[in-house]
Each structure stands twice: as structure tokens, then as C-alpha cells.
Symmetry: C2
């Protein structure tokens, strides 16, 4: 099954965060983001992309302050509330010498409809796929990373056909559908539904203050407080989703589920959880 | 894997209901209960066991009325609010000529602590295992049917070790753990936890107004409005539950999940969903 699932990104790490990451106390995930840039305490240039937010200035400010407190002198921000603003932004200058890009939360539809097809998005893709720049996204910024993203879907108790809507995302993760605030908002039904639409996609549900770190060789590592739920539909033997009406429940058999805590490793090329060595069970030390 | 899971009951059908079954309109499940007695419109004797309820007279009355409206002349009731009452009940008379036993909802701990070890329970077991009497239970009456039953467990978003407590049930279903009000109350985490304790147990989560019908040859059929979620832990490759503290999340890999709608069939001896013929996709006709 190798290479059934892959990333567009062949550059640096992807850091995909389930939302509500700690910005004031331990800040493990934000620190990890900076650590992954590999600048090792030297000058680190961070670009914040807050356009998913309804209040992008406010969202930007929170992360500017958070990164400043972690020693980043001058975090950059894509300041834009419209496509015109994105067109007007000097993408070359914003990305010049950048080590990490951080996409904030908000609404993934807003994120993608503002950025999609712009020179900025093109540059973002180029930087993420051809360089070692770390690309991080939280909440909407996480959802928007995949080729097919979940844009709507209330936490309905039963998985039904209309419990989720998919829309094209920024496409850094192919054949992976990300869901966030996952167990906090009881989203397993909607993720199973999203996977049932096309079991070619691997569903990954990320809890709050929890992230997955993906390298370009198929290694996904769980990092943070909560769990990551992997919904693998590749072994589905029976899938009724095409047969039912919009709001009807459907049957689906043979879904594989993995619930992975901090430190656990999943091979996202081969769709296999890797048995952790015992050290992974020890408390994480910063 | 044949016979890994089996029932104590080798008599009539078991009807295990996820709670809140319709008692006033279509009443598909109550009708199915009567149909399974095989009396075919002839005299049907039904015994109601309402002792799980805090208000057993009230619970009994609801089912007495419901069965009367469905043509059962004189439903019998085990009237008991204490073990003394259960001891005093004339079990032989109550079970004499009975075709179906219906255990109501309430608190499964109350059900089992009142009935366990009494002559009534012994007679109930004998009737259920040695005759064609249909044994039905709803909600607490469903949970109490298994050898290990879930007695507590708030719907915690994350599966953690303490998210569920198991206690010995009435034991009609061996190696099966029943959960009820399943998707309505977001109980998948607690059922996965219960299965992770000992993956020998198959977890079966039943939605409201939905039932499973089990025969004694391993056939489980889903019947009703909602879905039945089967959590099969027999393929679990990694299970951290013994390693973590009480309120800590744990990792578990390789859980098999099947979501089965009305009419779908599962082989509960062999732990395999059976591919439904196309007719199962047609609307159910009473």
C-alpha cells in the first residue's frame, strides 16, 4: 500500500494542530514549531497567516505576542481581509528568509477562498514543497491543509450522509482528511462519514492542544496533550453511503480505528501504527 | 475464531434494545418482541421485569399499557422493590406458560443487585436457556444481559481508563458488552475503553429505538431506526490501558469498527459482518 497516501510537501515538516494549543504556559506545541525550523536559537523568521479568522488582526496579535515571548523578534503577518489584500501583499518579501509559516484558526472556507489561486498561495506551496520551511496550521489552518477538507458538519450523533461537506483545501496533504477539536466536539461520526465518501482518504482527527508532526518519509508523530484518532477505510468491506438519502444513517463495515497518544508513531504512507519502544510510555520531558 | 464469543442462551431469541423504543406509534420493536414469541396471534404471556427502575410501578404500568394495546390481555409483572420482594415472588407462577420476558430500563446496577442469586434469576436463566421464551431488555435491561456490564461511565470525550466501570451482569451474553443510548449519548469512547480492558469482549453499542436480535446460531440482526456500532478488539495490536493512570488517555491500535443499520446481519460467533443481499436496502415493511 506504499505511497497510496502522500503529501505534496516534500520539504520541511508539517505541524498540524487540533486547535486550542497552549499559548501562555508550557507552550509545548509552539515551542515544537520553532524547534522544527532547525534554526536552533539563531534568528528565526516566522510568518503568521491569520486570514481564516473573522478578526485577523486580533488573531495575528495573539500569535505575534506568543512568538515574541518565545524569542522571535519580529514575527511577520500576512495582513489581508480580502483577496485584493492578498493580491497586494508582497509575497516575495514576506517569504524571504522565512523559517516557519503558521496558519491560524477561524473558518477554513474563508482561508481557502481568500488564498486559493493567488500568488501568495503559489509561493506558500513552493516554499513548503521545495524548502525546509516548517508549515504549521491550527484548527481551520489544520483542516485547510488537505486536498479534501471538511467545511461543515455539526456533530450529529449518527453518521449520516449529510453530516459533512467536503470542499477542496490548500492541498498540502493528499488523501488525508484532517478534523480538529476532535474528541472535544465528538466528531468521530463526521470523520467516518468523510472517509466513507471515498475510503482512499485517510481520516485523521486531532484533539485540542495536540498536533501531528509529519516528515516527508511517511512518519507521523503524535505530540501533545490529547489523542489523535486515525480512521482508515481501506479495509472497508461494505459501504452503504451511496445508497441512502441525505439525512439517513448508513452502514459501513470494516473501519480500522487507531487512537494514538503523545509520542506514538504512525506510518502514513503504509497506513500502519508503529509499535512504540517502551520509552514512549515515559512522561515527556521538554 | 468460531465460538470465541457465545451466549449462555441456547433457547429462544434475545432482543437487546438500546432504550427509548417507540411505545405509542409504530411500535416496531415491541411488535417484533411479540412476533418472536412465535405465538402468532394466539395467547401470548408476557412477563415484565421493571426492577431496574427507581419507579418500578410506573415503569411496569407503561409496558402493561403498551402490551395491552398490542393485544396482550394480561401482562404479568414482577412486583418488587427489594430483594425480600424478589424472594417472596412466586417465580414458578410468574414463569408458568410465559412466552416472553421484558426487562425494562432504569439502573443496571439496581437490576442486578436485586435479582442476582435469587430463585427468580435462576428461573429466568433456566427459562431463557432451556426454552423458546424470548428474552428482551431495554436500556439498563439491555446492559444487564451481559456477563460484564458497563455500570458507570460519563460520556467523556477522550477514552481514558476511568471512563467506564465494569461489573458482573446477569450473564445471558458472554464475552459481549452491551452499551445503549449509544450514539445519542456519544458513548463510543467508553465502549472502546471497555473493550480495551479485555479485548476478548466484543463491544456492541445500540442506538435508541433500535435493537439487535440474536439467535442461538451466531446471527445478530439489526432492527430499528438507528444504528448498531460493533467494536471488535480482537485485532488490537497495541493496547496501553494497563500502563496509564486512572484519568489518563491511552492509546490503542487496530480496533475494528462496524456501523450496522436496520436489516444488517453480523455473525457474532465469527465476528464478521455478513454482506447483505440487496433486499436489505429496501425500506422495511411491517
Amino acid at each position: 500500500m506504499d505511497n497510496r497516501i502522500h503529501r505534496e510537501v516534500i520539504g520541511g515538516h508539517l505541524l498540524v494542530i487540533g486547535g486550542a494549543e497552549d499559548k501562555y504556559n508550557e507552550r509545548r506545541i509552539l515551542r515544537k514549531f520553532l524547534e522544527l525550523t532547525g534554526t536552533d536559537g539563531g534568528e528565526t523568521n516566522v510568518l503568521i497567516v491569520p486570514v481564516a479568522s473573522d478578526f485577523p488582526e486580533f488573531a495575528a496579535d495573539i500569535y505575534v505576542q506568543a512568538f515574541r515571548r518565545l524569542g522571535i523578534a519580529n514575527p511577520r503577518v500576512l495582513r489581508a481581509t480580502s483577496r485584493q489584500d492578498v493580491f497586494a501583499a508582497d509575497a516575495d518579501a514576506l517569504f524571504d528568509g522565512v523559517n516557519g509559516v503558521f496558519i491560524t484558526g477561524g473558518d477554513q472556507m474563508r482561508l481557502v477562498s481568500l488564498l486559493g489561486g493567488t500568488k501568495f498561495a503559489q509561493k506558500l506551496r513552493q516554499v513548503a514543497t521545495e524548502t525546509n520551511v516548517v508549515l504549521a496550521g491550527t484548527s481551520a489552518g489544520a483542516a485547510g491543509m488537505s486536498t479534501s477538507m471538511i467545511v461543515r458538519g455539526d456533530a450529529t450523533p449518527h453518521p449520516h450522509k449529510n453530516s459533512v461537506r467536503l470542499s477542496p483545501g490548500l492541498g498540502f496533504l493528499k488523501n488525508i482528511i484532517i478534523d480538529q477539536h476532535f474528541t472535544e466536539r465528538g466528531r468521530i461520526s463526521r470523520l467516518i462519514t468523510a472517509v466513507a465518501y471515498n475510503p482512499y482518504n485517510l481520516g485523521i482527527g486531532i484533539d485540542e492542544n495536540t498536533a501531528i508532526i509529519l516528515d516527508n518519509e511517511g512518519v507521523l508523530e503524535v505530540f501533545g496533550e490529547g489523542s489523535v484518532t486515525v480512521v482508515d477505510g481501506s479495509q472497508i468491506t461494505y459501504n452503504e453511503i451511496a445508497e441512502v438519502d441525505d439525512f439517513q444513517s448508513f452502514s459501513v463495515c470494516g473501519v480500522q480505528l487507531h487512537i494514538l497518544g503523545n509520542g506514538l508513531i504512525y506510518d502514513y504512507f503504509g497506513r500502519t501504527p508503529l509499535q512504540p519502544p517502551n520509552e514512549f510510555l515515559l512522561p515527556d520531558i521538554e
